[in-house]
Symmetry: C2
Subunit: 358 residues, 2 copies
């Protein structure tokens, strides 16, 4: 793919603005997008990267029979701190995160690779617990871990354990599930309450004790997505809500699709304990990470049926209609109708709300 005409090969403006990497460059917000736009995408630039989806689609389409093998391919590294938290751990996250990204491409997750980067001195028992958790998660998600790598770095040059997983899935639908498929009028469906993963991590990290322990929503949503596709629901786009939460996911899609979106605050489920924890800690729950939540964009005619399918699945019991795609917008404006009837802009984060959340 051709580079943008004004591409700055030496990234001198980026380097002038940010001579050093900041935590926010990995936070999913504005700075990370700038790093992608100005350095990473131009270097590796190809149509698949520029599609800005959760994974790449591969078409091995030379079969004489006309049947094609369509695969999705995705990767994520997981650097969450602490390694164990209520409702999950690094190992479960490393499986479900990548499996969910495959599902967001409309693919049935099949195979994972795993790369361990271990800090010297990690307790062997800790590694064993994480690996057993990956084993359980892979079983639940029905994927096989088929290739891997183990590296050890010197004490003080890592942080216990980082895991990378890459995944391959079989695309389960002929639909083009991507921001480019969005249409004005599309209904935005959300499969459950938001903000639990981020608040679970935050509480574990800071040793905060709320009245109830907030558990991460960390789980595999592939089955639920595949049920929608199998039922023939027209799904224009899917996106899981990880770093940066609901607000960031919608901003990314709106910006890529150049469409505006309008959300209804009262329709977005947030548990009372999560809302309370966010208030105490000064977080906006719309920006807090989830690990078992996604949005589906469907045409209005299919919305009721899609909701019914989602609600019949344990991970979609609280599924709801949270807004609409409203029309063209050069910068992808996302607005929110607040509880008290006003409107506010839901922008992309400039900095970072919560580092090392996944």
């Amino acid at each position: 793919m051709a580079l943008p005409p004004n591409f700055d090969r030496n990234c001198s403006t980026l380097i002038a603005d940010y001579p050093q990497i900041l935590m926010a460059h990995g936070g999913g917000g504005r700075l990370m997008h700038e790093l992608l736009e100005k350095m990473i995408l131009p270097a590796f630039g190809n149509s698949m990267l520029y599609a800005r989806h959760d994974g790449a689609l591969l078409d091995f389409g030379e079969e004489a029979s006309g049947r094609r093998t369509r695969l999705a391919f995705t990767t994520d590294s997981y650097v969450v701190s602490p390694l164990f938290f209520p409702g999950g751990d690094l190992g479960a996250l490393a499986v479900y995160g990548t499996v969910n990204d495959l599902a967001m491409c409309g693919a049935r997750p099949l195979y994972l690779s795993v790369g361990f980067i271990i800090e010297e001195g990690l307790l062997m028992e800790t590694l064993g617990r994480v690996i057993r958790s990956m084993q359980v998660a892979a079983g639940r998600a029905n994927v096989q871990i088929i290739t891997g790598d183990t590296k050890v770095v010197d004490k003080g040059k890592g942080d216990g354990l980082f895991i990378n997983t890459a995944g391959i899935g079989a695309v389960a639908s002929e639909q083009a599930i991507a921001p480019a498929s969005l249409e004005t009028g599309d209904v935005i469906l959300l499969n459950g309450d938001v903000g639990r993963h981020g608040m679970a991590i935050m509480a574990a990290r800071e040793g905060l004790a709320f009245e109830n322990v907030i558990e991460s929503d960390c789980d595999c949503v592939a089955d639920l997505v595949l049920a929608l596709l199998a039922a023939g629901v027209r799904v224009h786009c899917l996106r899981d809500l990880t770093r940066g939460g609901l607000a960031t996911a919608l901003n990314e899609i709106a910006e890529t699709a150049r469409l505006a979106m309008a959300l209804v605050e009262s329709a977005i489920p947030i548990r009372e304990d999560v809302r309370g924890a966010c208030e105490i800690l000064g977080f906006d729950p719309l920006y807090v990470a989830c690990e078992g939540r996604f949005v589906a964009f469907v045409p209005p005619q299919d919305a009721e049926r899609a909701l019914a399918i989602m609600r019949s699945h344990p991970l979609g019991a609280m599924a709801c209609d949270v807004g609409r795609v409203t029309g063209p917008s050069s910068h992808g404006l996302v607005t929110l109708k607040t509880q008290i009837g006003g409107y506010r802009i839901v922008d992309m984060l400039s900095g970072e709300q919560l580092p090392r959340i996944c």
Copy 2:
């Protein structure tokens, strides 16, 4: 795949022997194999992992036409220190290392994913240099980087930059290229001199100045391997020589295949400057990492032709016949006929010769 009958689910013997992770658990030698055997393989155990190859083979074989889509899938994390060294850098290594692993599966490398784990405070200019190096390497290796992820960890919790790549390639041959295909009498071919990568890193790390700068052999060997396969050479097994060098690669294959191998020391090319550096530093060049070297096991009838093909390629100009597969051996004994006519056992390393070499 069933677990071994004596599998210790809680890895208690491993934990008793090694309560903490040591650098050697990532060094490619005996301790890493023990970690794999006792903890990782039993947890994720499936036939593909147990095949102990550089990657996994996937068969999307349901095509009505009878033609199958056969893919190879592999991953490696790269944690080399320092990031830049004579002849290469982390970025080139992260591309060529994974591309070479695909080639070792007899596959034409097609696509890579990339996961960056960046330490807060890394110079943006340094990241840019590594990324440009990946861009050049991907171009030379004719692969596309199509999906990726960026994480940032706190200052002091990483070491500048770690990169994971996973790769997908199209299997280019119907041959079963794997340790299990080895046969007594197979000739062991090596595509060039050994030990340069390790000594280049060592010199860069310690600030040693030898008479000549030793440059890493870091390069993409896929073309050379594909040329062998395209010519119809019967290739029983391939393995690139990374962590642990020639000795470790041969020990791994011999152990998996339960066959003995005999090497001829005088046939193994080692540059004088590399040999000298190894002597000064107390390294055995047979255990020093390479990043553009591989062994090919071919039946004796095909050996001459294979050598000729290898020698006609720039990365095989110094290709040579270094030994034979000699017969059954329950532990996979590898022996070396020394320069002075004696014999010695070439064992797997117990500890680690050189940490963070790739």
